[in-house]
Symmetry: C2
Subunit: 209 residues, 2 copies
Amino acid sequence: MRMRGIDFWFDFASTYSYPAAMRIETEAAAAGVAVTWRPFLLGPLFQKQGWNDSPYNLNPVRGRYMWRDLERLCAGYRLPFRRPTQFPRRSILAARVGCAAAGGAATGAAEGATWLPRFARAVFTANFAQDRDIDDPEIIGAILTELGLDGAAWLSAAVTPENKERLRRATDAAWELGLFGAPSFLVNGELFWGQDRLDQAIAWAVRQP
Amino acid sequence: MRMRGIDFWFDFASTYSYPAAMRIETEAAAAGVAVTWRPFLLGPLFQKQGWNDSPYNLNPVRGRYMWRDLERLCAGYRLPFRRPTQFPRRSILAARVGCAAAGGAATGAAEGATWLPRFARAVFTANFAQDRDIDDPEIIGAILTELGLDGAAWLSAAVTPENKERLRRATDAAWELGLFGAPSFLVNGELFWGQDRLDQAIAWAVRQP
């Protein structure tokens, strides 16, 4: 029997990826579903759709609603929320660390998978609850240190040519899989988009033979 | 005490308005919330956002996902679904009949409000479950007749200058209220967008003093 699983594709700058990242482990575990965390960059996917900025910035009416909606959602999930003073923040450094973690680049392959979810939740909290600059290596390094990791080693591992290429490949793969936004969930090739679809994606995974 | 209520803004051509229209009366009634049905035209709001067509047509990757998502949602709600061969269908005739119903233009002010929800569900079913042309007066007339109404009288009432103006005013009001898509729900000035937000909008109405 194949392990029931869900691929969680996210960008650290993506607003609705924040509640998804905070919720997914608890909800998936309760359903017996394993989560694979897939950091990627949304910017190149937006460019392919003809946008040179977040659609929430390009369309202010839509953007104003999104911030209010996100505030209400976070209140409902009892998640702290503070609107970032910069949006979207550059998420490439955090995404590279996430890819290095997934690849186990610094200190062994098995370790990364265990701390990537905790790292991701800390980065999303920094961006969307603490208004901290997640593009700052000092802030990312401090988050790694707080997780008991070697911050300097992982920051170095993040920017190797091999690891940069890993993030580019992940982003290319996202587009090839049909993704156009974040968060997205993939279950045996079935795509679910938006944190609103997390429960449906988990239910889909549970129904897999 | 003010009656708890929710304004339901919809376009008969809007895909996600279909499940919203089919679900809202039952779910609102269970919560003791009154629904006011507000037909309007999404096209002018799209034009204000720089689009000359549905964003699902302008962005094929997004559109392909929407059709699959809608199919899954309808299956989950046990609603019949057949992808319309034309999208978006012209919805102005049905919207005008809806405005005439809300205004009670043909046969008295009180009657319209009682059959508008049934008319709307029948039109949505014609468009999204039966692939029928809701721009055809014969089809709209037949729907009215099936509801026990005077189809010819209501089709005439729909196209009076006064009623056409009523729909234009509703569409202008939608934009002024901050709407940018459909379905949308308004509860004491609080905007909720998308059929995914129906439950949240009803809960918001319940919490009103």
